[in-house]
Amino acid sequence: MSTTERVLTDEMVDAIRAYFSRYPDKQAVTLPALHVVNEALRYVPRQAVVEIAELLELSPAQVQDTLTFYGYFKQDKPHGETRAWVCRSISCALRGGEEVLEHMCEKAGIKPGETTEDGRLTIEFAECLGACDFAPCMLANKTLHKDLTKETAEAFLESLD
């Protein structure tokens, strides 16, 4: 650790501590803690992992083990202000989802998993978002975009500017 500057604010620590009473074991607060940090910072830097581990009385390796199992938490730098998950599973793929994803990536100039230079947008592929009734679909932050087409995807990209 080159720097021991704390990453978790008092607010985040309080939020994490609030979960302790829900579980008989502190390790169970791992995912909730990761979400607390991720929601605040848009990523979970390694220093945060060390601090979460301290709070939960785990080793950093144990927290990192859990974190990296999921593809959900970025660690090197924050994801974009908007994180757009475009579904690539069967129902969306059957209705053109992959082509929409490809089109979006081309327009935004990034590959899935990447963030635009200006930090506004991250595009990710998702596995079945559970909205197959509106396939192809995309979850952008908390908003579900339904019946996506290349055109509506482009309009979405423009709306971010």
Binding site: L34, T66, I90, S91, A93, G113, C128, G130, D133
Partner: protein, 452 residues
């Protein structure tokens, strides 16, 4: 089609159906009041057992029977986990229930906890359902305020806390012990069984894991009785003592190449053809159907000739599919390439394999490698034999893996290649005319990775 009165979807079109007020105005929490006021835990278990309610999460295990696996007179704590990690491709009925009628789910959950003597319930909710999260949390808050949750519910010696626990985008968290490991804060590697969760589950205590739709059914079983529940569906085969029948209403998800994708409620046992034609507005673009997934991608594929089999717990198996699964039907029209389908499936399972046991970790990875090379025009006929061998070898059916994810990976491979062998062979021969006969190992494609 006789008019089927919706049960689970009865309320979802009503404005503000997700609020306590609307729910109670239509009879909500009547079942809970009766259970807590007049019944013993054992009575509830008996009623659910008598209904032959089978789990709606994919495995179809009799719910009441599962509840009886809990140790008698356990000092506690007993945990209940509601599996809201719905991630099976093609499936979205839990999402609709949680978004539009969360109280139905919660009432069912509270009743289930009463029956199993669980004092703490965790709703393991996938992170990709933010609206469901919002609505469930609001509903839970309303319940605490109304005295349906917390200490001494309805003035009785029954206390329950429900906590929402969000996942982080991993399909395997829908597997019951994968869910438990994830709940405990570890990587979601499913556990070996025995011990079963009912004996040793979350935090090493007795735990029941049930699906969202299953919980919702419990409300109606209490309200209208086991006999009513059994009046719908497909009765058990009298010659097969192991057949638990397929009773009750079922939410069928319909998506893919149909005019009206959506969630449709019908008694268990309608056929794929009925679902497409009577509910789904028929195959889109005036095309014909080629195939359909019967119950989420893990179940494999029905060919169009097999569309008249009932979609109950026993039906899809008769066509060599894995089972009813989540009853999520995905329709593929005549223009779909089976190679593309299988690639999508193998890619999904390779991405989602938890990686714990060798046959699944390496088998799913190997299968997607083969499909990618095939689609890149470098496939061999031998690859089909390799894929089938992988499909026949990995899974809990042969016993080679810890959990059923690999069976889910295997079944689409087996169904697609065995039912459309000629199409695969033609594709390979046409796209790789000079190399399709090769039997020695060939160069791998370079690995391209992005995202996670």
């Amino acid at each position: 089609m006789s008019a089927f009165e919706p049960v689970l979807l009865a309320n979802i079109d009503k404005p503000n159906s997700h609020t306590l007020g609307v729910y109670e105005a239509h009879g909500g929490y009547r079942a809970l009041k009766r259970v807590v006021g007049d019944m013993l835990a054992g009575d509830v278990i008996e009623e659910v057992k008598a209904s032959n309610l089978r789990g709606r999460g994919g495995a179809g295990f009799p719910c009441g029977l599962k509840w009886t696996f809990l140790p008698k007179d356990h000092p506690g704590p007993i945990y209940f986990c509601l599996n809201a990690d719905e991630s099976e491709p093609g499936t979205f009925n839990n999402r609709i229930l949680m978004e539009e009628d969360p109280h139905q789910v919660i009432e069912g959950l509270i009743i289930s906890c009463f029956a199993t003597k669980a004092a703490t319930a965790y709703i393991y909710l996938r992170v990709e359902y933010p609206l469901a999260h919002e609505r469930l949390q609001a509903a839970i808050d309303e319940c605490y305020a109304a005295g349906y949750l917390g200490e001494n519910i309805l003035g009785k010696d029954f206390s329950l806390n429900i906590y929402l626990h969000r996942g982080a985008a991993a399909y395997i968290c829908g597997e019951e012990t994968g869910l438990i490991e994830s709940l405990e804060g570890k990587r979601a590697w499913p556990r070996i069984k025995p011990p079963f969760p009912a004996v040793e589950g979350a935090f090493r205590k007795p735990t029941v894991v049930n699906n969202v739709e299953t919980a919702a059914c419990v409300v109606h079983i209490i309200n209208r009785g086991a006999e009513w529940f059994k009046s719908m569906g497909v009765p058990a085969d009298p010659d097969n003592p192991r057949d638990a029948g397929s009773y009750g209403p079922k939410l069928y998800c319909l998506s893919g190449h149909v005019n009206k994708p959506g969630c449709y409620e019908a008694p268990l046992g309608i056929t794929t053809r009925q679902l497409i034609d009577d509910y789904g507005g028929g195959v889109w673009k005036n095309r014909k159907a080629k195939a359909a997934i019967p119950g989420g991608i893990s179940m494999g594929l029905l060919s169009e000739e097999e569309f008249d089999l009932p979609l109950d717990f026993a039906g899809p198996g008769k066509a060599g599919c894995l089972g009813l699964g989540t009853a999520a039907v995905v329709v593929l029209d005549e223009t779909v390439s089976m190679v593309d389908f299988l690639h999508n499936s193998c890619r999904f399972f390779d991405h989602e394999s938890c990686g714990q046991c060798t046959p699944c970790r390496e088998g799913t990875s190997w299968s997607v490698t083969l499909l990618e090379r095939m689609r890149a025009g470098k496939g061999r006929l031998k690859d089909l034999d390799l894929l089938l061998e992988i499909g026949d070898t990995i899974g809990i059916v042969p016993g080679s893996t810890i959990c059923g994810l690999s069976d889910g990976a295997a079944w689409p491979i087996k169904n697609a290649i065995r039912k459309w062998r000629e199409e695969f062979e033609d594709y390979i021969k046409t796209s790789n005319p000079t190399g399709y006969m090769e039997t020695d190992p060939v160069e791998a494609l370079p690995i391209v990775s992005h995202g996670h």
